[in-house]
Amino acid sequence: MDIGFIYDYLIASERLGIWIAALLTLAIYSFLYKDNPIYRFAESLLIGISVGFLLVTTFETTLMPKAFEPLAISFTGIFGSGGFGAFGSFLWLLVPVTLGLLMFTRFVPKYAWMSRVALALYIGFGAGASIPANMQSYILNQIDATIRPFLAIDSFAAAVNAAVILVGLISTLSYFYFSKAHTGIFGKAARLGTFYLMIFFGATFGYTVMARISLLIGRLTFLLRDWLGLIS
């Protein structure tokens, strides 16, 4: 094929893509005025495309390599040199596939209970896996990171920071402890915890705002540079 033709095709498809992206961006921003048919069209389009993308991606990255391809290989192996071993692995692979297919019984009310078998396994897996994972990452690592700075204090500032962190953790946990009334010393600790929490919420809010503004700048740059060519 002619290289020049391919190049022209790519440039044309890119130009068309930029126009479509720009018009869809404006369609989304039209919501700032009020809810309107153009925005609802773009919103519906986004939902459909996103779900289609997720469906194809999940099929190709999970179902094909972990279920259908191994099933096909072991199935052909039964009739080839695989013999009993291939038959065993075929049956073993059928278990999760059958469990997955049971999910479809949700569409038949009479047999909908069968989908709970797969759901129970999935929830059980999540519950079992989450206990050590949460204990490690959410509890032990957090306590470790709070205590560790005390082992490496080399300046007054480091000591203050370590104390700020320890006091903050104890007071924040005090605020979330509801088995004792928030009165007296404990109440004061809980109140200090709310101060720490407010600082955290403010910081998180600031971060979120800046992330969104960064995206907005990205979209405006796209409109003004890539689409209209007003800035370089």
């Binding site: 779900v51 289609g52 972990k66 600082i199 910081a203």
Partner: protein, 189 residues
């Protein structure tokens, strides 16, 4: 899963990996069930000519188009599937998320009133972080340093407190599930 953590061995490790694969497959099938449900819902609205049915049709057509292109021609770069992703999905997603900047700013204007100590701390923390991250504030030394100090000390320790609470809560719920006390996920009280 618990046994694998407390008694690590080759056998428990391979069982863990196998069950992880099973869970991923069940998740994938559940996702397809979800897509079926979505299509059923939207097609139902289209067939009944419900209010705004044309938008339901747009959703279904775009879903099928994307699925067809993905399954028929693959996900390779330069293909139609990725072209739609790059010029339809990615810009619209970024635009929807950036739209939130306006609503967050509006919420901040209404909510950020220094009425008490907590509100003042919230306001100051947000202002320092926003200016500290932005290039204008980053060029003013105290802003960047104070923002960094807030992030690395009081903000982080409050986050740790929340994390510990989340961890304890998740472990408690997991134990309830394992012991059969919590069965709402099966549709039971």
């Amino acid at each position: 899963m618990l046994i694998q953590f407390f008694i690590p061995s080759k056998l428990s490790s391979s069982v863990y990996n196998e069950i992880t694969n099973w869970a991923q497959l069940i998740y994938a099938f559940a996702l397809i069930v979800g897509v079926f449900g979505l299509v059923k819902y939207h097609l139902g609205r289209v067939s009944r000519k419900s209010d705004g049915w044309i938008y339901n049709l747009v959703t279904v057509v775009s879903l099928f188009l994307m699925a067809f292109l993905g399954f028929a021609f693959g996900r390779k770069d330069g293909g139609a599937f990725m072209w739609i992703f790059n010029y339809f999905q990615a810009p619209m997603q970024a635009s929807v998320f950036s739209l939130l900047a306006f609503f967050v700013a509006s919420a901040a204007y209404r909510g950020f009133q220094a009425r008490n100590t907590e509100a003042v701390l919230l306001l100051l923390s947000a202002v320092f972080i926003m200016f500290g991250i932005a290039s204008v504030g980053n060029s003013i030394p105290p802003f960047a340093e104070i923002a960094n100090w807030i992030l690395m000390n009081p903000s982080m320790t409050a986050r740790r407190g929340i994390f510990i609470g989340v961890g304890l809560g998740t472990i408690a719920v997991s134990l309830r599930v394992i012991l059969g006390v919590e069965r709402t996920y099966l549709g039971k009280e």
